[in-house]
Amino acid sequence: MTDTLQAETAEKTPTPRQRSAARIADAAGGRLRWVALKIALLAIVDAVALYAVFVLFLHNEWLVLTLVTAVTILVNWIYFSRRAIPAKYLTPGIILLVVFQIFTLTYTAYIGFTNYGTGHNGTKDQAIASLMRSSLVRVEDSPTFEVTVVERVGELGLLVTDPTDGEASLGTNQKPLEPVDATMEGGKAVAVDGWTSLTFAEVLGRSTEVEQLAVPYSSDPNDGAIRTQDGQKGYLYTSTLVYDADADTMTDTATGTVYTDTGEGAFTSESGEQLLPGWQVFVGFDNFVRAITDASIRGPLIAVTLWTFVFAIVSVASTFFLGLLLAMLFQNKRMRFKNGYRIMLILPYAFPAFLGALVWAGMMNKSFGFINQVLLGGAEIPWLTDPWMAKFSVLLVNLWLGFPYMFLVCMGALQGIPEEVNEAGVMDGASPWQIFRRIKLPLLLVTVAPILIASFAFNFNNFNLIYMLTGGGPRFEDATIPVGHTDLLISMVYKVAFTGQNRDYGLASAFTILIFIVVAVIAIISFRRTKALEELS
């Protein structure tokens, strides 16, 4: 845009180049304010990006840093270039789409192909370090040794005072303890010639090295090694596991069992016993296969899938027809107190669904609920504890929560159908039912069909209602995952991934992908079908 400035020096006989410059100047004249605004906005964007880059640099997040930089440069180029007109419109949406949709979806898909979950939480190195740490056993009846961390030419050693005889000895990771003449202070050896004693701050600075420090007690490895956790006191430990880095095996020193890396993400013995923690590995389609073949998962999965479809379809149908019925009533000119009724009908919609479900859960309590106690005079109806009653209750509450929305939508859609259609039907001698069935409903569906599909997708994943009302209960009695008769796929995924002591993010992600595929296919098919409806109008 800087070339607009050239237009100010217009000559008497303008060259073609100057003429085009003048044209641009004319076009841009009224928009200088806009240009300034654009530059200001981009400046803010760039400033934020620069700050983000700075923060990321401090945290050594190179991948994200590269992404932020690339996106910022791209955005600047798009809005300063004179060509990329479509991109100017599409960029914001695409960026949001990538961040909030595509990234999460890809990441979930990736998790679905791993064994990420309890016991497979980190990398192999972390698992090995953790196993080695937990395999340390303090030698029975061994005393507490006062220790001083000392250093020589970068190598750390421990100056150990034996509490039994007060003798000082010194050793390193390679050299077992040997007696030395040390400077004593209050019965503790604090310094020795040729070695520098570390202060507490220096010990803290070399925390990791101090943690790795294990000084053999004698030349016999079975005697164990002295380690210190706080740099002040040492204890004698032996290890029950030995890691062989070349063979990549763990050996249990007590039993002699050898555990090897079999590619399943944990050290496994020949008998199939696994040492946990393991680590995350790529397992291909294992999670999907397990979801479909493992009998204790398959049974509940099929039941839950069927119920999810029933729940979504019945919810959409019931709310739509109740909403439509009420909307038709309201069309009637002779009806009085319309406003009062309307407010009453919209009330459930104004109530947060969360609260609504919770209040209903309280009202449906078998012994103390309002419905049984007050309305039914002490009846013992198991609204939420019997499998079939619970399903019915869930549908009932969802109808209560959902019909006002459909009522509003149908009111609007009915306004759009001209009255002449109705009159023409009456002239031709059609019954009211025929008029509704053959004329009004098809015309209505043209407008409402996309909303019904959206409502189906929403109810398919209606986690809040299930979580708040029944918690998925009553539970299946013989499933290995804690799912119940009213669980939807989404709440089942939640239970697999985030409840109990055995999380299985991999399996839950696999379920999620299956759900995504189902919802996507249904949405695509339905939207195609609605195109056919549109030819009516």
Partner: protein
């Protein structure tokens, strides 16, 4: 070009992306250890206890020069966040939690052992046992929690001597529901456990060192079936009701409809605030054996990925393990301290003393992963028995299901 609404959107989008991406990276975590940050300890604490630890943290900084950065976390998210963040090296150095997390934390390899050394003998035995997993101590305990009977002393003047005595005392006072305990449609085995132990059927047996042995499931002993039959009878009599959840139990006790409430220290303040004259009693046993509840022990873990383990261990063992700090934490949470000396000081309060008396019989809640399989079937089975299912077959099915799941 024209600048209009879409530019604003673009701006919003770009800002959201950059801030979002920066936020992903720059969560409140310790940067990788460099020389400057190596003397900062990041400690994740339950938000309600940050203030209690402030003094201890400042004093520690003064003494050693190590900065202690207390991060308040939502108690319901702290464990999952820790497990997920530890492997990335960005988690905390120290995290506050409960002992029954131990199985999960250790299976995920995110906690490092803690050597208590000679200070071990200064802790309550139950706290020490709960902090130990597979023979190794992973947690520095600071509080012990267990349930007991809250009695409305204005209605019932004397403690009940047995379970039946409690019910009859309450009925004599004209109460329809003398005794309430939190259940729910899926049961609540934690609150029923004292009655189960009274029949001599603990979940797991222990090995010589006092560790729970997952291969020794003792729920299927004859005592377990006696308990199941008793539970069925009490359910039929209406003394246990799965429709009573935590809120309903609380309401009944606060309104005076119930005189006995089996619950934990976390509900005491609700009762005293409502002006009820609360006394803490031992749990009345249905048998001649004592009713032993679960003890839950709270404490601190050291992250296995911490670059600062020396400071972390020093801070916990030589600092949080002192009587003054344990008493500070006690004042914040009103839960019995885990250090014996601090516990004795705290027990001058009759309510704390009441819980401590019950806690003397308490057994640590098993933290072994096999316990997850037990929880999964346990409550459902007990709820079914309360609601009239055949006790013997239901209990047998529970034992079979759990045994199968553990294998």
């Amino acid at each position: 070009m024209k600048v209009n609404k879409k530019s604003w959107l673009a701006l919003g989008g770009v800002v959201a992306v950059t801030v979002g991406l920066a936020g992903c990276a720059g969560t409140a975590s310790d940067p990788k250890a460099t020389d400057s940050s190596s003397s900062t300890l990041t400690v994740w604490v339950d938000s309600e206890r940050v203030d209690a630890l402030k003094g201890a943290a400042d004093a520690y900084t003064e003494k050693t020069g190590v900065k202690v950065d207390l991060v308040g976390k939502d108690v319901s998210k702290i464990k999952d966040d820790f497990i997920q963040q530890a492997p990335t090296g960005k988690g905390p150095d120290v995290v506050m939690g409960a002992h029954d997390w131990l199985g999960e934390l250790s299976t995920n390899g995110v906690v490092a052992p803690i050597e208590l050394g000679d200070s071990a003998s200064g802790y309550l035995p139950v706290a020490l046992q709960a902090s130990t997993y597979d023979g190794t101590v992973y947690m520095l305990p600071y509080a012990v929690e267990n349930i007991a009977i809250l009695r409305n002393a204005d209605i019932i003047a004397e403690p009940a001597t047995s379970f039946d005595d409690m019910i009859s005392k309450g009925q004599a006072a004209g109460l329809a529901t003398p005794f309430v305990v939190e259940q729910g449609t899926e049961g609540n085995p934690y609150h029923l456990y004292p009655f189960q132990t009274a029949f001599g059927a603990p979940v797991f047996g222990t090995d010589a060192e006092g560790n729970y042995d997952p291969t020794d499931l003792q729920m299927g002993d004859p005592g377990g079936f006696e308990f199941a039959n008793w539970l069925g009878a009490q359910g039929a009599a209406g003394n246990f009701n799965t429709d009573i959840d935590g809120d309903i139990a609380k309401t009944k006790f606060l309104s005076g409809e119930a005189a006995f409430w089996l619950t934990g220290p976390w509900n005491v303040s609700a009762a005293t605030d409502a002006g009820i004259n609360v006394a803490i009693d031992p749990i009345p046993s249905p048998t001649s054996a004592p009713a032993q509840p679960f003890a839950g022990v709270k404490g601190f873990f050291v992250s296995s990925e911490s670059d600062n383990k020396v400071a972390a261990n020093d801070f916990l063992v030589n600092y949080i393990g002192t009587e003054d700090v344990q008493l500070d934490l006690f004042k914040a949470g009103n839960v019995l301290p885990a250090l014996t000396a601090a516990a004795d000081t705290a027990a001058s309060d009759p309510i704390i003393a009441g819980f401590q008396a019950v806690g003397a019989d308490a057994v640590p809640m098993p933290a072994i992963p096999a316990m997850g399989s037990v929880w999964q079937y346990w409550g459902i089975a007990e709820a079914a028995i309360i609601n009239g299912a055949d006790p013997t077959t239901t209990w047998q099915k529970l034992v079979d299901d759990v045994s199968a799941a553990i294998k």
